[in-house]
Amino acid sequence: MQVVVLVKQVADTAARIKLADGKQDIDRQSASLIVNPYDEMAVEEALRIKEKHGATVCVVTLGEAKAEEALRTALAMGADEAARVTAPASDPLTVAKALAQAVRELGADIVIAGRSAADDEQGQVGAMVATELGWPHVTEVTKLELSGDAGVAEREVEGGVEVLDFSLPVVVTAQEGLNTPRYASLPGIMKAKRKEIRQIAVDGAALGQPVLETRSLELPPARAQGKILSGLEPAAAAKELVRILHEEAKLI
């Protein structure tokens, strides 16, 4: 079985985010770059499939040379192969088309991605890759079982859990709860450094025009300073808070 995992290098949103001049992008020089956390879950799930069913795990990213760091991290976790896609893709649809082209070249029975990227939080690419390939998809998966050329996935929905049957090939996207990603081992890290990363170039003509455009980025306006009560006894504090919410804010 061939498993392709789509990973993205993103700015760590727990660190400080600065905007670049022109406000079209964040300042990537000062950002701390990590593997998108959901994509780490995708890698982990692929490794579990490999351990259980036997598979080759290939991690794929789209981006500049620096993004190969994300591939090295996934290789160190235990992925077998890696490929970096270069394409003039800018929005989720063109990115999905470029990645679908890479999947066609690499061959896959299952493609696993994160449910969304921690930077632009679009949550579109996984299902769009499936649509482009003519495959089924299941997003936000919290449980995955494969047997032969079919499988069962679970996803959390409002007020319950949805259980889906699917046949391979399929694209699934990983949601929190699917697994806990392993840490890379030291031998894994050493081995990952020497692995060759395949380069796949996708021509712009194959992607068509982008359908989304980021016009500008802004830092959000600071929220007005709220009313903070301190130094009150618990009973008095509770009473005052309920009075404010009831009489002033009329919220309860």
Binding site: G123, D165, V211, I252
Partner: protein, 322 residues
């Protein structure tokens, strides 16, 4: 017409459906479209009646064996056909587990821009533009759709639900042919959790507790306050990771985004990933013993004190309101 894809379960419309109808009316005015069409796929007659009663011009229904349970491939085909039927410039879905699964497939088929998770819509030089919160709420991105047809997912609680229509809406049954051989994935069953409280993303009041409650046993205080207020119960990643609470209650980047009228949190310091999930709340009330806790920076009202000491008094005071 603006097309809104409604959601229903067991014969009743979900709350997001009336919000989508309202969003569609607003979009109609913005785009100068000639009406609002609501689409129901595989719905019970009672849900169709409820949709017909909403403020809309046309109610499209799709029935048949292919639509007995959710299957993205079949449902996307139905949405695309409906969008063509009414020449929709804009297709709206909820930013719900359903809409987030279906919308990118619809957009992919139609080669349409998908404005995801929006709270409002504007038009700038003829293009639909949405402001989106990205980078865990640290940045606001202004995103424009460049395609002739745009698909959008609308955040729950972002629009006030549509009321009843003033004139009767039309109903049209749409025949959508789906070859079963082209459907490779389908919902087998939905395991419902006994719902005694409103759903987190739909609730107008949310009460959440964090690690400051010190022990999972103490969560009964959060539940008690929530039940007095008719609120949903939420929590943080830290308590979920510690096994105190289920992931379905997790608010924040790796959980759910909420947008209630009132968000009360207790013993939550406010990690970036939690804050990003609550910024849509209209009023935020925080109780935390640490006056320097980041949560107070985004709070409209804050109370510095021990959650476990304050909660029982808070419950008493709310109960006294009747």
């Amino acid at each position: 017409m603006i097309l809104a894809v409604l959601e229903q379960s067991d014969g009743s419309l979900k709350k997001i459906s009336a919000e989508l109808a309202a969003a569609a009316r607003r979009a109609q005015a913005l785009l100068g479209a000639d009406g609002v069409a609501l689409l129901l796929i595989g719905a019970d007659p009672a849900a169709v009646d409820a949709a017909m009663a909403l403020d809309c011009d046309l109610c499209l229904t799709v029935q048949g064996e292919a639509f007995a349970t959710y299957a993205a491939e079949a449902w996307a085909a139905a949405v695309v056909q409906a969008a063509k039927e009414v020449s929709a410039p804009l297709v709206l879905l909820g930013s719900t587990s359903f809409g987030r699964d279906l919308a990118p497939r619809v957009a992919g088929i139609m080669q349409a821009g998908l404005l995801a998770d929006l709270g409002d819509l504007t038009v700038e030089d003829g293009r639909l533009v949405a402001e989106r919160s990205v980078y865990s709420g640290k940045v606001i991105a202004k995103v424009a759709s460049l395609s002739d047809v745009t698909v959008a997912t609308v955040r729950p609680n972002a629009f006030s639900p549509a009321g009843a229509g003033t004139s009767p809406s039309q109903r049209r049954e749409l025949e959508v042919a789906v070859d079963p051989a082209t459907v490779h994935c389908r919902v087998r069953e939905v395991r419902r959790q006994a719902a005694t409280r409103p759903e987190l993303t739909e609730a107008s009041v949310v009460v959440a507790g964090g690690r400051g409650l010190k022990d999972p046993e103490n969560f009964h205080l959060v539940e008690e306050l929530a039940d007095l207020l008719g609120a949903a119960v939420g929590t943080t990643r830290a308590t979920v990771d510690a096994g105190w609470r289920p992931h379905s209650e997790q608010i924040g980047q790796t959980g759910k985004n909420i947008a209630p009228a009132l968000y009360i949190n207790v013993g939550i310091s406010g990690a970036v990933q939690h804050i990003s999930g609550v910024l849509g709340s209209r009023t935020i009330v925080s109780i935390n013993r640490d006056a320097e806790a980041p949560i107070f920076k985004i709070s409209d009202y804050g109370l510095v004190g021990d959650a476990l000491e304050i909660l029982p008094h808070l419950i008493d005071e709310v109960r006294r309101l009747g």
